[in-house]
Every structure is written in C-alpha cells, then in structure tokens.
C-alpha cells in the first residue's frame, strides 16, 4: 500500500512484464551509453573542450595581431546593426589559427574561410560570457572570459553564416552578431 507502512516482507525479484520492461530499458540505456564513445571514434562532431587559460587583454592583443596580419578587406553590414556595422574581414591561412572575440555586443572580426580546409578557431570573451551560435547551421559553443576555447572546424558548406550570441549578456544581447563567409 502506497500510504501505509509495509509490515510483511516486501522483497521479491521482478517477474513477468516488469522483468521484460526492465530488461528492455537496461538494453536501451546500453545502446545510448555506447553511442557517445562510438561517435567519438567514428563520427565527426565531437567538441573536445580544448582550452587554455588566458587573460582577456592578452587574448585581445593576439586577436589584433591576427587581424593585422591576415586582413583582406572590410565587412559592411547591409542590415542596420549599431554593434556590427563594420568589421575587418580576415582570412586565416588554411590549416592555421584564427581568433574570434565576443564582447558587448559584437563578434570580432569577420572571418573568411575556405570550404574543406580545417581551422583552429580560438574563441574567447572579453567581458561577460557569450554564446557562439553559428546560423543557419545551428552549431553552438560557449565563450568564457579567461578561457581560450579552441574549436578545430572544417567548413563543408559554402555561403554566408551569421554568428548569433545565445548567452545573455545585457541589453544589446539580441543584436550581437558576427559573420563567417565560406568560399
């Protein structure tokens, strides 16, 4: 009885339908448990969480250096956005490192990547935590101040991608966008 104390011995092994369901449920949990390591070896989407401690000012300095060395133009935002009206357009070397900074309320700089090449994108935030959300692809990562979050990305589709901030970072949060172009 659910509401009364149990006075008779109540332990007995599961049987019948209950045993069947327990078996099926345990089996399903095994399948799910194996999917993650399986995908780690056979799948391609596995963020490893590679990261290094870094002071926000140092990260900004590295980003500025990266922009200076690899700048190929200027991205002028055709849609009105006070926080990302104009960004330097930067093309990292194929297989090389790229730096991307999230700050209120802008992703800096705009990147130009090549389809099929692999890049190490260094992602960090300068002030608060920001959410890196690449649209319309819908890939999402966390950008945290003090951490250089390294994403080894291989763009496999061409086009213009918008980085949206999806971690609350103040009043201009909804307008915090950036750009990645893949050619």
């Amino acid at each position: 009885m659910s509401l009364r104390p149990l006075t008779s011995p109540w332990f007995h092994a599961p049987a019948g339908h209950e045993k069947l369901w327990l078996g099926v449920a345990i089996l399903w949990c095994f399948v799910m448990s194996l999917m993650m390591p399986y995908w780690h070896f056979r799948g391609k989407q596995n963020s490893s969480g590679e990261a290094y401690a870094v002071m926000p000012a140092d990260f900004l300095a590295r980003t500025e250096k990266f922009v200076e060395a690899n700048r190929v133009g200027t991205f002028k935002n055709p849609t009105p956005n006070a926080f990302a009206a104009e960004l330097p357009l930067v093309e990292p070397p194929a297989g090389g490192d790229a730096y991307l900074v999230g700050r209120m309320w802008q992703w800096y700089p705009a990147l130009r990547l090549r389809q099929g090449e692999t890049y190490r994108i260094h992602l960090s935030a300068l002030d608060l935590q920001h959410g890196f959300s690449l649209q319309p692809l819908n890939m999402n990562f966390q950008a945290v101040p003090g951490y250089d979050h390294v994403l080894t990305l291989t763009p496999t589709s061409k086009g213009e991608f918008t980085i949206v901030c999806n971690e609350f970072c103040g009043i201009g949060h909804h307008a915090m966008t950036g750009k990645i172009f893949v050619e």
């Binding site: 993650m36 780690h40 819908n138």
Partner: protein, 574 residues
C-alpha cells in the same frame, strides 16, 4: 491504521500517544498531526502565491517572444525572465515540496512533527529570502537570469536572498529527517516506511546535496559582490552552479514520482507491483543524478570529453533507467488495481474505465505522459555529449524543461491540490466543472508552448533573447513556431489562473467538510465478482502497460536517432 505493539508504550512523537494535538481524517481514517497540518497549509498557500507571480511573468514573456505581439521592452523582458525563472523553479516548487515533506513524514507514519519552532524558523528564512530576491529583481538590480553566470553580477541582496531560501529549506528538510527519526524511535509505525515517504526521503537527500552545492557557489559569489574577495573563476562557477541547478530539478522529479504513487493509490487504489524495484529506482536517483549536471557543460571549454562522456553516458543513464522504471510501475499499479476491480476488457478497457472526470486523475495521467514522452525523451537526447552542439542555449532547452518541470512536476502538484484542499483545509471545491477542465487546459497549453520552443530552437532560435529580427537570419517558419509558443503560453496561463482561482475561491467560499468525507471526485467502483488482491501474484496482468511502454521506447529511439542524423549534417568539429 498501523497496529502498535501492545506491550511497549509508544513515545511522545507517535500520534497514538495521549494529549497529542491531532485529528482523524474523515475521508481516509488516517491520523493527521495538527502541527504538520498548519505548516502544510502555510507552505502550500505561499507556494501558490509564487506560482501566480511566476505565471503572470510567464504570460508577459510568452507575449514578448511571440514576435508579432512583442509586448515588453528589452530591459523589462530580461528582468521579467529572471523573475519568472526564480519564482517558478525555486520558490513555487520549494515551498510546495516542503509541504509534501511535512505530509510524508507525519500522516503515513502516524507520527507527530518533530518541532514547531524549527518549522517556523525554516518558513521565515525561506519567506524573507524569497521576498528579498523578488524585490531586488523588480527594482532592476539583478537582471542576471536564474543562472547568474559570472562575471555577470547582481546586487548582493540577490545572492543573500537565495542563500536564505536555501538555508530555510535545509532547516525544513532537517525537520523532516528529525521527524522520521523520532517516529521510528517512538514506534509510531511498524515495518518499513511506505513508498510515498520513501520517495520524499530520496527527494530530501538529493535536496541536501543540492543545497550544499548552492552554498559552495553562492557564498563566494555573495562575498565577491560585496567586494570582500576576488572574482571566482567563471568555469568553476558553472560547474558548481549546475550541481545546484540541475539537481534541484531532480528533487522535483523525486517529489513528482512520489506524488504519482500517492495519487494513483488514493484515486484507484493502485499499489506498486514490486516495492523492491520501485525503491531501487529511487535509490538510483540519489546515487547518480548529481552526475547529470554535466548536461549543461557539454560545449564548455576546459571540461574534457572523457569527463563529459563518462558523466553523461555510463553514469547518467542509470538515473534515466530509474525514470523508465517508474514510467512502468506507476501505470502498471493502476492497471492491476483496475483489473482487480473487474475492468478486464481487452488491452485498454481499464484505461477507458478510469475516472476521467476526476481532475487529480487527469492531472496525474497528463503529468506522466508529458513528463515521460516529451520531457524524458528530449532531455536524454539533449544531454548527449555530441548532440548538444546543435541544441545548447537554443529554445530547445526551455522547450525540454517546460515539459518536465511544468508539464510534469507542476501539473502533478496541481493534481495533488485537488486532494490537499479538501483533506487538509477541509473545504470542498467550488466550480467543479472548471476544475475538471483545468488540467487539460494547462497541459495542452504547456505542450503547445514546448512544441513552439522546441521547433523554433531546432531552427537555431536562441533562448533568453528579446528579439530575433535584429539578427536577420530567421525566416517565417521560426516566426510561426514562436507564435505557437505564444498561444500555448496564453492557454497555459489561463489554466494556471483557473487553478489559482479555484484554490483561492475554495479556501474562501468552499463548503466546509469537517467531520464528513470529502466530496468524491470520482473513484471507479468494484464491479460484481471482482476480487481485491486477486492479481497479486500474476506478473503478466499488465498487458496494456507493457504495450504503452514499448510504444514509448519506439518514440524514444526514433527521436534519438533522428537527432544523430541532424548532427551528422553540420560541419565537422573537434
């Protein structure tokens, strides 16, 4: 009533002891401790007040994210979002859960509450803390969301208020443990505690672990906000905060499952098919649920993949297994009880014969279905290390937890209120027609809201964002789903308002039922020739339930692998 050994005198904390303030419930025949009754009432009423506050905030938010209406300005949207999250996820649920704990340690055990003074202290701390937090949010000094991720900083009173609520809850939980101890010591009952109390005990143990995490994270953050110490590391904060944040929701799961067992027993006389299995499942929650906090850190830097895979796969699925066990044992208990009453036709004749006009039944059934099918399946999928890449911080996340915490826990607590008010406040419900409709309105609204969020989220719409038009990437489909979210939110709010009006109206104007049984909501009668207990040893009498659970598993597998397919379509990332 439990028989107490005649040779040994009972102690002062048994209700059977002379001069104990108690009454006998006219409906159930159980003894009710009057001290416990007072605090059950007090916590439940205050909980419902916070539910209403959070609900008003919910309506404003739904009407803002419904992009066509877009009601609130940006600053008030984030303020109200913070207010909504904290009032709903913390205040409403914690107050109601303390009420459940005080019930579970007294009436089913025939025991007297350990201490009135301790209960007052806990209640006062929780109340003061909650008012402080709400005040500081509405004053615009804590627009930090429920997670308040550092370095985002709120006014110190925000952290202090949360600490007070946590300490107050711990005091209440202590009173619960102490009551369990004195009830056993004073031989208030014989044998093992009933499953309702056992479930509440599991919830209380998880609550202690949760609140300790809260202390570890909130006390340094408070000190930092006062300028006493340097800034705590943001990743450290995230890891420990989720030991509080995710686990607190597992306290709800435990309490909700205990309520399922309670209500299915009260309404149709269901009992667990196998007590050992049900209790083991509760123990799995206690042992493994802490690890599910890793859910929230799957695309964070500085947390390695081995840690993520270990926590979210091998260990977390043991907690998922527990939910899958309860998802079978609760309906199986109902099926057996109904078959023993003579409703034996076909696979689902017992389902048809359930008292559907009883809002506690419809609320419980909807809670089980919404929690299991929508909440459970989405939760496990989103908590998969790799799949999280396409869901993290999108509207899919609130799409998931609104069906677990609102469609599951809140609906179960609402269903419980249809018995709590007649039995503890001793007044029969007014407007019974509206009451019969209420769980359906609320459940349907929440399901629509969740579908709107989940589909918009799978199109990349982020959570906690005031506007999607400024980003220039979302098309008409995303707008359509945000409209569904808005409509669902309005419908759910109507259901919530109906619930609050029914409760308040009944407390003020309901007919008193002192000394007579409560008005019946609908209990299925035993048919001629039926024999109670006749299926106790028949382990294959749950044909309908096994079919339902296998359908559930099929849905689970389809959704799970569809998400792997969606993941395989995005860019490779290491």
């Amino acid at each position: 009533m439990t028989s107490v050994s005649a040779t040994l005198p009972v102690g002062p904390h048994s209700l059977a002891a002379p001069a104990t303030p108690k009454r006998v419930c006219a409906t159930t025949g159980l003894g009710v401790c009057l001290d416990a009754q007072r605090f059950i009432k007090l916590h439940a009423v205050v909980g419902v007040v916070f539910l209403l506050l959070g609900g008003i905030a919910a309506l404003l938010l739904a009407l803002t994210r419904w992009q066509t209406v877009h009601l609130l300005p940006a600053d008030w949207f984030y303020r109200v979002l913070t207010f909504h999250g904290i009032n709903m996820l913390i205040f409403w649920i914690l107050f109601f859960e303390v009420a459940i704990l005080y019930f579970a340690c007294t009436t089913p055990l025939n025991a007297r509450l350990f201490s009135r003074k301790v209960a007052w202290v806990g209640f006062a701390l929780m109340g003061v803390g909650a008012v402080m937090v709400d005040w500081v949010i509405l004053a615009g000094k804590a627009d930090v969301m429920m997670t308040s991720y550092l370095p985002l900083l709120a006014h110190p009173a925000f952290y202090l208020g949360i600490i007070l609520v946590a300490v107050g809850t711990l005091v209440g939980v202590f009173n619960f443990f102490a009551t369990l101890y004195v009830a056993k010591r004073d031989r208030a009952y014989e044998g093992s505690m009933p499953i309702v109390t056992f479930g509440a005990l599991a919830a209380a143990i998880i609550a202690v672990v949760t609140l300790l995490h809260g202390a570890i994270v909130m006390i340094p953050t408070f000190a930092y906000s006062m300028g006493w110490i340097g800034q705590p590391d943001p990743i450290w904060y995230r890891i420990i905060w989720w030991g509080l944040g995710h686990q607190s929701q597992q306290v709800n799961v435990c309490a909700m499952v205990a309520v399922w067992y309670l209500l299915s027993h009260v309404i149709v006389g269901a009992r667990p098919v196998n007590e050992a299995v049900c209790r083991t499942a509760f123990a799995l929650y206690i042992l493994f649920i802490n690890i599910a906090s890793a859910h929230h850190l799957l695309v964070d830097p500085a947390v390695g993949s081995a840690w993520k895979i270990w926590n979210t796969s091998y260990a977390m699925y043991l907690a998922v297994l527990a939910s899958m066990v309860h998802g079978f044992t609760v309906p199986a208990g109902v099926e057996i009880a109904m078959r023993e009453k003579g409703y034996t036709r076909g696979l689902f004749g017992w389902v048809v014969a359930l008292p559907w006009r009883n809002p506690a039944l419809s609320g419980t059934v909807l809670s089980v279905i919404i929690f299991g099918f929508l909440g459970g399946i989405t939760g496990v999928t989103l908590g998969t290390q790799q799949i999280n890449i396409i869901a993290h911080n999108t509207l899919r996340i609130p799409g998931h937890f609104h069906v677990t915490v609102v469609g599951g826990t809140t609906l179960a607590f609402m269903a419980l209120a249809y018995y709590v008010i007649p039995l503890f406040f001793q007044r029969d419900f007014i407007w019974r027609g509206l009451a019969r409709l209420q769980p359906w309105l609320f459940g349907l609204g929440i399901v629509m809201l969740s579908f709107g969020m989940s589909f918009a989220g799978s199109m990349g719409v982020s959570r906690r964002s005031w506007d999607i038009d400024a980003q220039g990437v979302y098309g008409s489909a995303a707008h359509l789903w945000l409209g569904v979210l808005g409509l669902g939110g309005v419908l759910a709010f109507v259901g919530l308002l109906a619930f609050v009006l029914l409760c308040v109206g009944t407390l003020l104007f309901g007919e008193k039922n002192h000394g007579r049984p409560m008005a019946d909501w609908g209990t299925p009668p035993a048919l001629a020739g039926a024999q109670a207990g006749s299926l106790a040893d028949n382990h294959s009498a749950t044909k309908g339930t096994i079919v339902l659970t296998l359908v559930f598993l099929a849905c689970f597998a389809v959704y799970y692998f569809a998400n792997w397919k969606a993941l395989a379509d995005v860019w490779p990332v290491r």
